[in-house]
Structures are given as C-alpha cells and as structure tokens.
C-alpha cells in the first residue's frame, strides 16, 4: 500500500539518482530556493496591445477564432437587454441559470426568466461572471466559490460569460495576478477554470465539432466603463 514506506522508498530513490548525478540535497534545496527568490523573467509576448481598447479588441478577435461570440456593452444595466437580443438572434428561449452574485442579483431581468443557483442537468442557458481574462488567447478565468458553482460553467448548452473590462489582462501572468489580488489569502480556490471557446472534439476523423460535454455556444459580453453603473 501507499504508506510512509513507499514515500520514503521513492524519495530515497530520487535522492540517490540525483546524488549520482553530482547534486547533494543541500545543493538541491539551494537551487529551489534561489529559483523561488528570483524566478526567470517572464517571456513577454508581443501580442495584445497595452491600451484598454486595443486589448479588448484583441481579446474578442482571439475568442472569436475559437468559435466564441462576443458583444460589448457600457454598463451592467444593459445586460438584460443585450442577453435578450443575443437569445433572440439565436432563437433561444427558456430560463437562464445565473450565479447568485452581484451584479446578476441586482438587475431587473423581466421579461427574461432568471433563476439563481448551482448548475444542474437540463440547464439550457448559464450566466456567469468571469473573474479575470487574458487577451493573448481570448481566455476567461473563473474561480469557484460560495456564489460561483463550477458545474454551471459546463452543464448548460449555452454559456453566457460577462467580463468587466477592468478584469481583462494582457497575458496569463497578468490574469493570475488579478485573481490573487481579488482572493487574498483564499487563493487558490478549489477550482480555477480557464475557458477558451465552446466545448469541442476532433476525436472522430479529426473533424472539429462543438458541444461534446460542455456548452455548444459560448457568448462573452464585455462591460466597458469600470464595471459599475
């Protein structure tokens, strides 16, 4: 069984192999400490523009390449109208399951039918708030939490994700930094989902098809301004 003796056996084996390559435990400890103290500088990609407008545009272009759709609104108050318009274009009706968190809980949704809660089988449309995003590949970052059920990111056929522009970073490292700031000592949460486009598979004859197990459609609504009213 995997008990303490297995642990010791494996670590001794690794230690002996590395020792034979001329590295002592002390050197290995020092090597790890020095890399932690001074990690190699990140390789900065010459991709997303630094200004907010250019970055948003870059994000949308990358997301659309993965078959996501995007929309821009000025403030959260415009969300119900923008979502109604999107669903209308798609001929989609039916209730929306939203994360039970602001701004969703503060908005007047009528005539849309919105319920708040965890994701369940049969949810047709999900509505979630992204906690961050990276423009470099059009990727959303979502954290699990008391008002952010992870299953809601995967069970609905259509997922609508709302992204305040203030939470859009240029690259992955920038998005991680944002998430760390938001969560303080709760970081990392149980789950962080990076989501880039709808669910897909090319497992049958290399043909790309959408909506294998997760959403067939991913619609991202960017909220300009500072995320508020």
């Amino acid at each position: 069984m995997s008990d303490l003796s297995s642990r010791a056996h494996i670590l001794d084996g690794i230690g002996a192999a590395l020792e034979a390559r001329g590295s002592s435990p002390g050197e290995r400890q020092a090597g790890v400490a020095s890399r932690l103290a001074a990690p190699p500088p990140p390789i900065i990609l010459d991709r997303a523009p630094a200004d907010r407008a250019g970055r948003a545009e870059y994000f949308c272009a990358r997301a659309e390449e993965t078959s996501a759709t995007t929309d821009r609104i000025d403030a959260f108050q415009d969300l119900p109208g923008a979502i109604a318009a999107y669903l209308g274009r798609r001929n989609r009706t039916g209730p929306i399951k939203a994360q039970p968190r602001a701004p969703f809980t503060d908005l007047n949704w009528a005539p849309l039918e919105v319920a708040f809660g965890p994701g369940e089988d049969g949810d047709g449309i999900g509505l979630v708030l992204a906690d961050g995003a990276a423009a470099e590949t059009g990727t959303l970052f979502l954290m699990s939490g008391r008002s952010a059920p992870t299953a809601l990111n995967f069970l609905p056929e259509t997922l609508i994700a709302v992204l305040p522009l203030a939470d859009l970073a240029g690259d992955y490292e920038g998005a991680w930094a944002l998430l760390r700031d938001t969560s303080g000592n709760q970081f990392p949460p149980r789950t962080v989902n990076w989501i880039t486009g709808p669910s897909r598979s090319a497992d049958i004859e290399q043909r790309v098809l959408m909506g294998v197990h997760g959403p067939r459609d991913l619609h991202i609504i960017l909220v300009d301004g500072d995320g508020g009213s």
Partner: protein, 472 residues
C-alpha cells in the same frame, strides 16, 4: 503495462497494408501537423518559449524530490490527500481502496495515460466497479476494448463507420435504425449517454497534465469538458499522476501551456484548462468532498538514474508522433505499447526493460524531426541511439543483423578492402541497371525494392573519380 512490442515487425507489416488505417493517418497529418505549423507561424516568441519550457522541465527534474515534497505539503494544507505509489499494483490497490471506502459503483474517468499504463479499467471492473471513459476518443476505444493509438487522440485510427458500428453494438436500448452517418450524430449520442454517467458517478478519476508545487494544484487540459464534469460532480476526485508531472509555479505552468496545445493539436490553447486545489471549500456551491492525488513511480526513479533521464521532461503533447515518418506510416498500435511513437520508443523500454521492447528504438529513421518539433527540446534521437547501444551490448537484436554489421565494420577499418568491395558492388549494380538507369529489384533486398526503385549507380565511386582527377 501490456506490452506487445515483440510483435513489432508483424504489426508494422499489417498496418502498412491496412487502407482504412492509412486514410486515418493521412487525416492526422492534415489536422495536427498543419495546425501546429499555422499557430507557430503566428507566435514569434515560440522558440524562446520552448527554451524556457525546456529549462523549466530540466530544472524540475534535477530538483524532483524537493518539488514533490513541496507539492505534497501544499496539497495537504488545502485538504487534499497524497498517496505515494511505487508501482502499478500499489496504485491500483490504493485507488480501489478509496473507491470502496466511498461505496463507489460507478467511476467516470477523464483521459489519463497513467490510467492506461496501470490498466486501471480492467482492475476496477474485476473488483465490481464500473469505470466509464468520458473523453470521446477514450470512450470509443473502451467500447472496442482497444489500446489508444495516439497519446492525445486515442481513437484517431478509426473511421466514423467503425465508431457507428461500435455504438450500435453497445447502445442496445436505442433504435437500431437510427442514422449514425455523420460524426455530429455520433457525438450527440455520446453526449446524452455520458451525461447520465457524469450525474450518477460516485468517484471521478482524472489524470494531470501538471502538478504545481507552489500551490499543491493539479492541472488538466481538455477540449471537451469531460475531465471537468468527471471531477466536479462526484463526491470524490482522484488524480492519478506520475512523479515527473510536477512543475514549480503557476507561472511556469503558464509557459508550458503556451507550448503544449500549439504543439499538440495546433490550437493556441485547449478549450478548458482547469486548476484544482484540494476538495470543495466550506461555503462552495459544488465540488467534491474529497481530493486524492496518486503519485506514481512505476519505474521513474529508475529512469532518473539512467542515461535517458531527459525523457522525464516530456509533457505528452504528441508532436513527435504526429511528425514521425514511422508513426505516420504504421500508426500507434503497431508499437504494441501504451506510449507509441518516438517518445514511446524511449519511455517504454525505460519502464518495462529493453528485452521485450528492443524493436522500438529501431523503429526510427533517426531523421530528427521529433527533436525538431519537441516543445521541451528532448534529444529523442540521442536517447534512441543510447537504447540501440544498450540493445547491442545485451545481445539484441541478434543473428543476421549482427553479422552484417560486423562484416561492414571489418571492411570499414580496412580502406583498401572497403574501396575494393564498393567498387565491385558499383560495377555490378551499374551493369544490372544500365538499360533503364534504375533497378526494379535487388537480389536479397526484395523487401526494400518492393515499394521503390533503386537508382542505378554511374559505375565508378566518388573515390575513384577523385583519384582519376575528375573533380568537377
């Protein structure tokens, strides 16, 4: 690990004659190889990222014990349980014990090569637990009771007709007359059936693309979202990972993710990259109550002590398979190992010993394409050569190959004999092919000339022409 590598020659011959397989291999080249070329062209920093990715992997392997202990400590702080397992038996027993303690009848699985390596499904079945693969490709080969033929596209060797046939045979309660001609219909059927499995599962098992020491986090990369549903919905999440999956930090993982999908499927990034740390927190709305990580050795410490320890840096993108002319000609099953292609030809003998797998390092033209495309710059040809040396020292391959190489070596050390021999051979071949300029068949080399012609030599060797002054 089941090993059928000793049948390599027969397997390869059968694969070359299999037209359906040859079509599938052609599609693979069009999809993954072309996709990689496109996204790499769009990223001028790709080579700099590969250098960094290689540095991250070699640094981690050189400090493996430190990072594993750090990972364990952080995972435990987050409420996870870490199990160190020496071999497949150890890992399977540990997983079964966790499943039984949870009263599990049904287990959903994300795609995991470690699961294949330890043949977990058979073991769970034998112990009364139903394992269901949820990656579409893995699900298909599970129905067909086959091994994956590719480390990231396990069912790439199959046609849609073969998949439809398997679905009809196994999904007995559906209308037998339903149309399954289009991949979309196959996918919709699998989605509906597997959704019910996700919802009913007691335990979810996933692999790990990376383990992050800094935070005690496991990472999975999928396009379907199946790994996520496998790990969110059941009460227990078990991660199975081999020792070398660990990396130092979240930022290091970001660098590796930048080269992983680009090298694998030709995507800039896969649809879903998921970072999991411990079980659900107190107030979380969903997530598993328990989180276990199996750290599997199964021969890795032995590899670390050997001369091919660089293979531990592999991030399983599959680029070396996609670009290998040998893999491209015979597909994955011919290798007879869970891990096919160039990385598999190095990893398999290292895990199972060379005796049953000595054909694998020969299954390469050493053209260097695998090293050329490797996102972490593994010296795969060098490692294959190391294994050839080792095989020669231990007496495999034997027989005729050894005698011929000895003869060649004898002549090569005696220039007069070598020149005499090549001169005779050239004159003879030139005489044989004088009329056409090429040779349809060569005595004793029928296998070689069966599929191609041999150009007839001019009749004089380079050395002869040099000596006689014809230097232009």
């Amino acid at each position: 690990m089941t090993l059928l590598a000793r049948n390599f020659s027969a397997n390869a011959r059968a694969a070359l004659g299999d037209t359906q397989l040859q079509e599938a291999l052609q599609r693979l080249r069009g999809g993954f190889v072309e996709g990689r070329r496109r996204v790499v062209a769009k990223l001028p920093e790709f080579d700099a990222l590969r250098d960094r990715a290689a540095e991250i992997r070699s640094h981690t392997i050189a400090h493996l014990d430190q990072y594993l202990v750090q990972f364990e400590e952080r995972a435990r702080l987050a409420g996870g349980q870490v199990h160190w397992c020496r071999d497949a038996d150890d890992a399977r027993a540990t997983i079964l014990e966790i499943c039984q303690a949870a009263g599990a009848r049904l287990v959903t699985k994300g795609k995991s090569m470690i699961g294949e390596e330890i043949a977990l499904n058979n073991y769970l079945e034998a112990n009364g637990i139903e394992p269901v693969e949820t990656d579409l490709g893995e699900y298909i080969i599970q129905l067909r009771r086959e091994m994956p033929s590719h480390i990231i596209a396990p069912a790439t060797h199959l046609s849609k007709e073969q998949v439809a046939d398997s679905f009809r045979r196994h999904h007995r309660n559906l209308d037998p007359a339903r149309p399954l001609d289009e991949p979309a219909a196959l996918l919709a059927e699998a989605r509906t059936l597997l959704r019910q499995k996700f919802l009913a599962a007691d335990v979810g098992i996933t692999g790990a693309n990376f383990l992050i020491a800094e935070t005690g986090t496991s990472v999975i990369v999928t396009n379907e979202g199946n790994g996520d549903l496998s790990q969110i919905l059941p009460r227990v999440h078990i991660v199975i990972a081999s020792l070398e999956k660990v990396v130092p930090s979240l930022d290091d993982a970001a660098t590796l993710l930048r080269v992983l999908a680009r090298s694998a499927t030709g995507q800039e990034i896969s649809a879903y990259t998921t970072f999991s740390t411990g079980p659900k927190r107190g107030a979380d709305m969903d997530g598993p109550d328990a989180y276990h990580v199996i750290l599997l050795d199964n021969g890795r410490t032995g590899i670390l002590a050997g001369e091919n320890s660089e293979i531990l840096g592999c991030i399983r993108c599959g680029a070396c398979l996609n670009h290998c002319p040998v893999y491209g000609a015979i597909g994955g099953h011919a290798y007879g190992s869970v891990y096919p292609g160039p990385m598999g030809s190095v990893l398999t003998p290292a895990l199972t010993g060379l005796s049953g797998a000595h054909h694998l390092p020969q299954a390469s033209s050493l053209c260097g394409m695998c090293e050329e495309v490797c996102p972490v710059r593994l010296p795969l040809p060098k490692m294959l050569r190391n294994l050839r040396f080792e095989a020669a020292e231990t007496g495999a391959p034997g027989g005729l190959a050894r005698i011929l190489v000895r003869l060649w070596a004898f002549a090569a050390r005696r220039p007069w004999l070598y020149r005499f021999g090549t001169g005779m051979a050239l004159a003879w071949l030139a005489a044989l092919g004088r009329k056409k300029g090429y040779l349809r068949s060569l005595p004793g080399l029928g296998a070689w000339t069966r599929s191609r012609d041999f150009p007839a030599p001019e009749g004089r060797s380079f050395m002869h022409q040099w000596k006689t002054g014809r230097r232009s």
